[in-house]
Structures are given as C-alpha cells and as structure tokens.
C-alpha cells in the first residue's frame, strides 16, 4: 500500500463534507463554533432540550455534536447535555463551554469537572434555585439570572427545560421558526396541549434572552442543501451491523451498549432476523456462535464486564472458525467501574484476553459516523475470514449524537466462503489463504453426504479431535495466516496531514486529536494524524510506511495504564521520541490538552 492510497482514503472517508459544503463567509462576529451545556437533575429534561437544539441546528444547516454525561441513578441524579454546534464537521467537544444553563444546581459538584468554563463564558442560573456554586465564580465567567421556574409556571404545563431551550436558541442565533418546527417534530404526536405548553415556555425563554448579556453566537445559519444525518454512535453501530448482513443478535442488557440492541430489535424483526435477550453474556455469545454455525451472520453487543464473560467462547469461535462480531461499548473499569462514562480501557482484554494462541480481529471506530462504517466492515471481515471480530466503541461515541455527512461504506468483501457440494469435504482443510470452505447445516457435500462437527478441541483437517503436534501446528498456522495474510487495504488506519510530528491515536480519542492537529496546522505546525481502525492483526509494513519521516510521536489515549502505548510498543517500531498523553475517564481529552503538549515539546 502506498502513502498516497492512505491519503486518498482518509480524505474521502473521514472528512467528506469539508470543501463540498463550504461554510458561508463568516459574518463579522460570527463564531463558526458555539459550545453549550444544559445541566440539571436527572429527569429535569436537560437531555430533551439538548436533543431538540441539535435537531434545530441540523435543520439550520449546522454540523453538531451532543454528548451526555449522567449519573447511574434513573431519576434524580445528575444529567448534562453537552453540545457543540458549528459550520464545519465537529469531531470533538471544545475546550470550554460558551454557554452554561443550569436548570438547577442539585448534584452539580458531581460533574463540575466535566464543565470547563472560560472568562468569556456566560452562565445562566435560576435565582429560585439558590446560590451559584463557588466553582462557577472561580472560572471568572459572567453569570446572569434567568427565572426559568417562574417563567415556566406562567405557561400552563410549561417546563423549565423548554424555557432554557428558547433562551439558548435565541442566544446562540438559531432561527425561531426552526425551533417551532423542531418542537412540532418532537411533541406533535403528544397532542396540541403538550405542543402549546412547550411552545409557550420556549417563547418565554426567547423573550427573556433579549435582556440577557450576549454570548458567542452565529450571525446566520449556513446555507447548505447537502444531505446530513442526525444519528447516535450506538444507532450507527446497529445500522452498520444490519448493513453488514447481521440477521441474528443475542445479548444481555448492559450500559452503555443497550441502545445498540434497542435499535436493532425492531429492525431485525423486519429484515428476516431476530434479537434474543439471553439469560447472561455466556449464553448470548454461545447463541451467537450457534446461529453463525447454522448460517446466519451474527453479533452481540456488550460492555467490558460482558466481554470478560464472553472470552472463553471467543476462543471457541477462533478454534471452530465461526464468524461473529462482538461490539464492546467501553465504559470506565475495572469491575462495575463507571458504567455511564467513557474510557478506552478494554483494549488490553480485547487484544490479549483470549486463552491459547487465538488470532482474532479487533477494530475500533474513530467517530460517530465511523461506528457504522467500521461495524459493517467488521461483519464483512469476520464473515470473510471466519473468525470473531471485536469492535471497540465506547460511551463517548455510542451515547453521543452528531449531525454528520452520511458515513461512507466500508471496502467491499466477498463474505463467507460457503462449501459447494464436493466429495471428500474437509471443513478445516489447510489452504494457502488459511480460509476453508464452510458447510452450512442442511447441505450435503458430495454423494456420501458428509456433515462435519465444529470443534473447540484441536482437530485435524476433517474436524476430528486430534492432540497430535502436526495437526495442532497446521491448524494454528492456518488460523494465523488467514488474518495476517489478508489485504485490509487502506482502511486499517486514517492518516491525515504531513509532518515530522505524528499524533498516534485510536477510537474516540481521535476526535480531539483530529481537532488539535487541525489547530496546529492553522498555527503553522505540521502535524500528522494516524488513527488506527484495525488493531488486530497488526500491520507492521503499513504502519512503518505511514510513519515514514516522523521524528516524534505523541500517543493520545483514554486509559490510566497507557494500554494503547503498550500495544504499540508490543507490535510496532516507534521513533526515538515518543510521548504519551494518556488520561483515564471520565473526563474527555480536549483538543487544547493535546495542543499544549505539542507546542510545549522541549
């Protein structure tokens, strides 16, 4: 693979909207990007207000991102909708929030660290909700009162989150007409009373905003007729699985993966497939193996604790050469850890967690849209190579929602090699590629009719159990060869930019790294970004080519134990100068953190 080829892929797939949909000339005072947070107790409606704002921004032609941070409580915990709206694609939250609206201050201390503010920020607080926390004052932000509770009370059925929505839309420059349409989409089905109540409360917020201090705002919506999607990472994962041909899902509910399953359950039922809620993750993965053995492309979605339970059966899938996909939407660990917040700390178990010599695929989407592309690719790779694939998404991707250009399709692959009727059929026959034709139950091979037994015991070419050295070595070689020798094309990584300095990253950490690289380039510092999509098998030759000419590497990842850095050290040659920016969850890595590290290097 050539460097040019990598570049082409990166340009086409990852930044598809840049250039095709140029932002309008920035009007004087136009921000280009505005970040805002709506916070409150769980159940107060912060998330709903955020989703409507993102929807309205999409209508107005903006790109956007909304991440959510919340406690484990179902109601009464803390909840915050964190939004960034911009005229260009958004890959990451910004360094701080321009606008913070507090529906109340209950539990604020639990997530204060996730809400960085600057002196230019505007904080809106309800005087009825008590004193503004000291942490707000320390940020130097401007604080203004907005009597959301009182304004909402003045409207029959009015709610504070709708007052906040109206004020936010007016302050950042979203057209009122589009807000009204957004409300109709959101509440139209609930009847005229609910819609009127919401519209009334929103109107009070809009009116009140006129008297508030200004905050960073858009002069006008960008004129853009391009097709855009508004999708969450977990929905994109589900759609990618479906597009990849998955027709059977068995799974056990777990945060933050459950939305993948919730989206897939009705979709599978309409596409001749099914989703089964299993009694535990052990059952889920074994049901998936059974369904795949029987001929149905199959998947399960889980998080770290579930993946831990599934690892024995993943070894079975490797040994029996049964294709399947496990999506791990990672959260803070170990053990129950922080179930509602993101971390990239399952890399170790995904790469090293299987017993024996068990070559398998590990992939990671690096944006919300890429959840679709990479999951679809993982299904196709698993089917083509007859092996399990682990897809490492995380809470930051899965439970975030973005307005994006439609995700590109993954490379086209042949899929499962099905045995055609042949005499002397041997399921695990040793081939040059390592891939052997797979007979599907219900079919006969040759005139004698020779079904086979898939086996987790080491076996010979026909599938009969064997403890002989020759069989073990031949099958180990075959299973490794089919992965190592496959041509994964340019999709193994995204590479953007040139320069002697490279940001080396993966998964959700790619978002802030991508923005940091762009800012560095804007400031005249040439920075290369390399984001690995295919983690296993390692691609040493392609990696060396991608790193050619690089003198310094900054590894960017979200784990405490520098798992990605160790993974790179184990599999690749790195230049002499390597620094690591590794931070555990739940705080997201921000572009400014990365930029600071780049600009202060020596």
């Amino acid at each position: 693979m050539t460097t040019e080829c990598i570049e082409e892929r990166a340009g086409a797939a990852i930044l598809p909207a840049v250039g095709r949909c140029p932002a309008p000339p920035a009007a004087p005072g136009d921000a280009g990007t505005v970040s805002l947070a709506i916070i409150g107790s769980g159940g107060a409606g912060a998330m709903r207000a955020g989703e409507i704002l993102l929807d309205v921004a999409a209508q107005a032609g903006f790109f956007g991102l909304m991440t959510r941070t919340m406690g484990a409580q179902i109601r009464g915990g803390e909840a915050a909708a964190l939004l960034r709206i911009a005229t260009a694609p958004v890959s990451s939250l910004d360094d701080h929030f321009d606008l913070l609206i507090a529906l109340d201050w209950a539990n604020f201390s639990r997530f204060a660290a996730e809400l960085p503010l600057a002196a230019t920020s505007l904080v809106l607080a309800d005087p009825d909700e008590g004193a503004v926390p000291a942490a707000i004052g320390e940020s130097g932000s401007r604080v203004a009162g907005l009597a959301m509770k009182a304004l909402a009370r003045a409207v029959p059925g009015g709610r504070v989150n709708m007052v906040a929505l109206g004020a936010a839309a007016a302050l950042i420059g979203l057209p009122a007409a589009l807000v009204a349409e957004g409300l109709a989409r959101q509440f139209g089905r609930k009847g005229e009373t609910v819609l009127q109540a919401s519209a009334g409360a929103v109107a009070r917020g809009v009116e009140a905003a006129a008297a508030l201090p200004p905050c960073r705002r858009f002069a006008a919506p960008p004129a853009c007729a391009e097709t855009r999607w508004n999708i969450s990472g977990n929905q994109a994962t589900g759609l990618g699985a479906l597009k990849g041909g998955v027709r059977f899902v068995a799974a056990y509910p777990i945060t933050p993966a459950t939305e993948v399953l919730e989206w897939m359950a009705p979709a599978l039922a309409k596409t001749e497939g099914m989703l089964v809620q299993a009694e535990d993750e052990l059952a889920a993965i074994n049901m998936v193996i059974g369904a795949s053995f029987a001929g149905a492309p199959a998947l399960t979605a889980t998080s770290g604790p579930g993946l831990a339970l599934m690892t024995e059966a993943l070894g079975l899938a490797v040994a029996s050469e049964t294709p399947l996909v496990v999506v791990d939407v990672m959260r803070g660990g170990p053990s129950t850890g922080i179930p509602t917040k993101s971390e990239q700390s399952d890399l170790d178990i995904a790469v090293h967690g299987l017993h024996g010599d068990a070559p398998h695929l590990v992939l990671a989407p690096n944006s919300i849209g890429d959840c679709l592309t990479t999951t679809q690719w993982a299904v196709a790779l698993a089917e083509t190579l007859q092996t399990p694939a682990i897809v490492l998404s995380d809470q930051a991707l899965g439970q975030s929602r973005a307005v994006i250009a439609p995700p590109p399709p993954p490379p086209s692959l042949p899929g499962r090699l099905i045995a055609t009727a042949a005499a002397g059929y041997q399921r695990y026959t040793v081939t040059a590629s390592g891939v052997s034709p797979m007979a599907i139950p219900g079919t006969i091979q040759g005139t004698s009719g020779a079904p086979y037994v898939a086996d987790g015991l080491e076996h010979n070419a026909r599938g009969a159990p064997s403890a002989q050295a020759g069989d073990h070595h031949a099958q180990l070689d075959k299973r490794a060869r089919k992965l190592d020798g496959f041509d994964y094309g340019a999709s193994w990584a995204d590479r953007e930019g040139e320069g002697e300095i490279a940001l080396l990253t993966w998964g959700s950490a790619t978002g802030p790294a991508r923005e940091a690289a762009r800012r560095a380039r804007d400031a005249g510092l040439a920075v290369r970004l390399i984001s690995l999509r295919l983690l296993l098998p390692a691609r040493p030759a392609q990696f060396a080519a991608a790193l050619a000419g690089v003198r310094r590497v900054l590894v960017v990842e979200q784990s405490h134990g520098r798992q990605f850095h160790k993974f790179l050290r184990a599999n690749y040659d790195l230049p002499a100068e390597v620094a690591v920016l590794s931070r555990p969850g739940p705080l997201p890595i921000r572009p400014a953190d990365i930029l600071a590290r780049l600009t202060t290097w020596e």
Binding site: A58, Q59, A60, G61, P175, A177, L178, E181, A223, C224, A225, R228, W229, N230, Q235, L239, L242, A250, A267, K270, T271, E272, G273, M274, V276, E279, L282, A283, A284, N286, M287, V288, I289, G290, A291, S292, F293, A294, G295, A296, A298, A313, G315, L316, S320, P406, A439, I440, P441, G442, I444, G449, A450, P451, Y452, V453, D455, G456, A464, P465
Partner: protein, 286 residues
C-alpha cells in the same frame, strides 16, 4: 436467514448415523448405549443426516457429536443449550439435539438449563447423568449423593444435597421430561424419538453409569423400573409424583402442550430502508 432445502435421501439405518471415529469412552460406559439409542431414533425419524445438528459441551458424554454423522458442534463446558438455542432460532428447519453430562448441564451450565426449560425452544436435550465428573478423573457432580467419599477433592463427601433434575426442570417450566436408562437402549431410543417429536424443549434424562469411577452404578439395572402411570400432563401432578420418585422411574414422566418459542420474522424491509430515519429533513429556511 438462509433457507437451504433439505434433500431427500433414501431411508437410513441406525448405523448410517454413526461416524468412523472410535469413541474415547471406557469399556462398559453407559454412553455407548446412548449413542446407539440416538442413532436408532434418528433412523426411526427418517430424517436426513444433514438436517440434524447435535450440539454438546465438555465432558465424556459431550464427545457424542464426533461419533455421529450428523452436523455437530462440540463447544465449551456448560454452554451446549445456549449454542443449540442459537442454531434452532437461526434455522427452525433443522432438528436440533443437545447432549451432555450432569456436570455440564446442571453445574457449570445450570443457569442455561433453567432458561432453556422456560424458553421452550423446539429442541431435545439428552442429559447423561452418572453422578460423577469422569473426564477429570472422578470428582463429585451436582447429582452426587452427599456422603460419596471417593473423590480426593471431597474425601468426607460433599455434604450438600444433590440436585434432582426432574423437579428442577418442572419448576423452571419444562414442557417434556422423560427418563431413560442406558441399560435399556430400545426404550431410550423411543424416548428420544418422542422428545424430538415433541414441539418444544424436551429433556431426556438418561441414567448412564460410569463403570470406572462409580462401579457401584452397575447395580442400577436392578433398581430401574418403568413408570406405572401415564405421563403427567399438568405440573402439579408431575411435581407431586416427583416428590415421591426414587430417581429410577423410567418413561415419559411429564408432557405439556406449551407452545414453543420462535420469534416472528418479517422480510418487509432491507437494511438501507432504515437510513432515511436518520436523514435531516429540512423543512424551513436554511
């Protein structure tokens, strides 16, 4: 889902359902008779080999699939029922049989046993019970009596009561339960045939002696006895009989008409049809 037509084949004899692989079982093991009974049942049912999937876990008895000529999957310890559930749900056209021992099915796989009983997927489970872990050289299993002292792991006995598969299965909502004895393979073949014919999850509990670690089980042939009553058809009667059962009653002990579980599937949409759900539909200015 693939819909692969099952080809018609000439009638097969029991022997045609055996493979050429020699079992690893000890001479005198009850599992030989289970293999014989199973292949006899397959021949009686007249189904082609490729339409049958035999799924197992780990243990002496779980070696069964390799000794047959049907499709098989020898999986990991305790998960045969989960694996078989996946096969049957993905491919309702296949005849799915799971097989394994008392440790595989009631200890490490105990949770799956409960949920297979209540899920009632149309498949048959042959549970070969010898009250011992044979493959690891003779440890107590969940069906071992508390005072059995022959294992080095539990030299004073386990001290805990064994689990009884029949009331366990009844409590979990099983729809068909039969008990057979390896010493009577003809009756066992009939029970397996009835289990496969039953629409729903069917448990065939087989008393299958381990002559190596539980030589005293050779005496089982003196204590087994055919059920005096017709099969119970309601759980209360079945449970009452189970309470006074000595564990050696053979025959169909319970059969109910619970409909099997099979989710509805429609082919009304393609994957791409879901994409418009995510497209931003601009209505107004902008």
């Amino acid at each position: 889902m693939p819909d692969i037509p099952v080809s018609a084949v000439p009638a097969l004899a029991a022997q045609d359902f055996k493979s050429d692989i020699k079992p690893i079982w000890c001479p005198g093991c009850g599992d030989y008779a289970v293999l014989t009974a199973l292949t006899k049942a397959c021949a009686e049912l007249g189904r082609p080999r490729e339409s049958i999937a035999l799924i197992s876990g780990i243990g002496c008895s779980s070696r069964l699939p390799a000794y047959t000529s049907v499709y098989g999957f020898h999986g990991v310890h305790g998960r045969a029922l989960a694996l078989a559930t996946g096969v049957k749900l993905a491919r309702p056209d296949l005849t799915v049989i799971a097989a394994g021992g008392d440790g595989d099915g009631l200890s490490i796989g105990g949770n799956h046993f409960l949920h297979a009983c209540r899920r009632n997927v149309d498949m048959t489970y042959i549970l070969m019970d010898n009250q011992v872990y044979g493959m690891t050289k003779g440890q107590a299993s969940p069906t071992t009596a508390p005072d059995w002292c022959e294992s080095k792991l539990t030299p004073a006995g386990t001290g805990i009561a064994p689990v009884a598969p029949l009331p366990l299965a009844l409590a979990a909502g099983v729809g068909f339960f039969a008990r057979g004895f390896a010493g009577n393979p003809n009756e066992l073949a009939r029970l397996i045939t009835a289990g496969i014919a039953h629409p729903g999850f069917a448990v065939i509990h087989v008393l299958s002696p381990c002559v190596t670690f539980r030589a005293e089980q050779r005496a089982w042939k003196q204590v087994v006895h055919a059920a005096a009553d017709a099969p119970a058809t309601d759980p209360a009667t079945a449970m009452a009989r189970a309470a006074s059962d000595d564990g050696f009653t053979t025959g169909i002990l319970y059969t109910a008409g619970t409909p099997p579980f099979m989710p509805e599937r429609q082919g009304t949409m393609r994957a791409a049809d879901f994409e418009p759900d995510f497209v931003v539909k601009r209505q107004g200015a902008g």
